[in-house]
């Protein structure tokens, strides 16, 4: 069953699902009985691959953030991409980091040139930002992976 109702300007769709089973079924067996030969591959199945295990080394220090803007497109980081950020890592020269710059979270390359530190965008239209104490700057975390959807979802 499906019906629509209007509430405070929102369209709400209502479907019905069973509140509980009406009929009583008597299960004779709760598991399937194996018949025939077992799969020859059975002994060779390793564990399933887990993307978390691959991409997240320090779960309690790992955060996901959403990219808003075009400043890192030459590094393959696009608007709406998802970044995996590991706060437990120390940024190295040229690490892509999330920084707190004057109260805003921003993603940039952290780069040392002639003893000065810069936040460098990967897009010609964005100037380098020197971090020298004039601006409120703090490393928030080190980006470790970018997740870019190849479909428009």
């Amino acid at each position: 069953m499906k019906r629509k109702t209007k509430s405070e300007g929102n369209i709400v769709e209502i479907f019905s699902i069973p509140e509980e089973l009406k009929e009583v079924k008597l299960p004779l067996f709760l598991t399937k009985i194996q018949a025939g030969f077992p799969s020859p591959a059975e002994d060779y199945i390793d564990q399933k691959l887990d993307l978390n295990e691959y991409a997240i080394k320090h779960p309690s220090a790992t955060f996901f953030v959403r990219v808003n803007g075009e400043s890192m497109i030459n590094a393959g980081i696009f608007h709406n991409d998802l970044l995996i950020v590991d706060r437990s890592l120390q940024p190295q020269n040229n690490s892509i980091i999330i920084a707190n710059l004057d109260g805003e979270l921003t993603v940039k390359r952290f780069s040392k040139k002639r003893n000065k530190y810069y936040l460098v965008a990967e897009n010609e239209n964005f100037p380098d930002i020197e971090v020298n104490g004039d601006r409120n700057f703090e490393v928030w975390g080190v980006a470790t992976f970018v997740l870019h959807s190849l479909r428009n979802i």
Binding site: I17, E20, L21, V24, F64, N68, S88, G103, E104, L105
Partner: protein, 423 residues
Amino acid sequence: MSRPIFALIDCNNFYASCERVFNPKLNNVPVVVLSNNDGCIISLSNEAKAIGIKMGEPIFKIPHMVKKHNIQVLSSNYTLYGDMSQRVMDTLKNFSDEIEVYSIDEAFIKISNYTFDSLTEYGRKIRKTVKQWTGIPISVGISPSKTLCKAANHIAKRMKEYNGVLDLTDHKDADKLLDKIDVRDIWGVGRQYTKFLKSYNINTAKELKYADEKFIQKYMTKVGRQTVLELKGIACKELEQETSDKKGICCAKSFGHKLEELYVIKEALANYVSIAAAKLRRQNLAASEVVVFIETNRFTSDPQYFNSASMGPEIPSSYTPKLINIAHKLLDEIFRKGYKYKKVGVMFNHLVKQNTIQFDLFKPQPTTEMFTIMKTADRINSFWGRNTVKSAACGVNIRTWWMNQKKLSKRYTTVWSELPLVS
């Protein structure tokens, strides 16, 4: 090491600190977090403390302060605080296998071996790591007993020179420091005992430490004597580590304003059941008993009523429609007309692992279809936010009973559509 050493880790201004991690604009300005219904201040930043704002103060009493000091006021975002708490506790597990999570923002750990020159150095390492990994500032109190850890933490948090870490183990100035702590701030000394102790001129932690043990035992029982011993650095209390199986899951909240109509309360209850049932499923648990309770506001002169009732599904269940159905039957039983209700809640008890449920040959079996429906709904809601898909019993109109939470921040760490944005 001859004797065990404990450390108490306490997050500084925890809720306000959680908000700051994801909204750095809140750094260095006064921040307060309000209780459910945006009533009273339950967490405040040091900047807010410095201008004289007090814990527990109702926000409606200080609009002039809020305006004058541009205080950032936030509703409590327990989803965020719960996740951040878990992260802090998990980070602490890198320092010790033995951990007692004492509250959302406090934990004791037992230090059995450490690779630093001193315990203070080790405490600093813990503090630095938690701050870097989670963004949460903490204070660390170290000593051979839990009570002394609490006292050490109390000092570490308040006296700047300690930089958030104080080790009272064999500390040469321990007595001098304990003399600065009011006896009411000692763990386990409640309001009544404070009065009692002060009437005998025992005013500070140091004075309690050197009080006559027999006298204390006589008037404050064995527990009081343990406090004295613990202040002397003799451990009486062990770590209480959590048991793996949850005993019960509860969801109960106060209404934004008082409710009298059964159908509105039913709607609220259906929402709480949905929240608690989703929690069951996240942990692969099923409930064998459903308890519903309802109460009026004790702090008014209105006629008072409270009651509860319980009932079990035939077989343990985590299926939201089934649980709502039971909860509504229970509410029908205990609801009385003519009262102004303040709170309704549901509790699931006797939780069992979903895969160990004993089926009954003669009763309805849960179908895989039921699991699939709930799993799908949970996934949609975890992506698009709670209540994107919900039981119709939860109501389709703007909820009149819902808590007032006007300044709620995003659930930055638990909902895909609410992740922090980086530019």
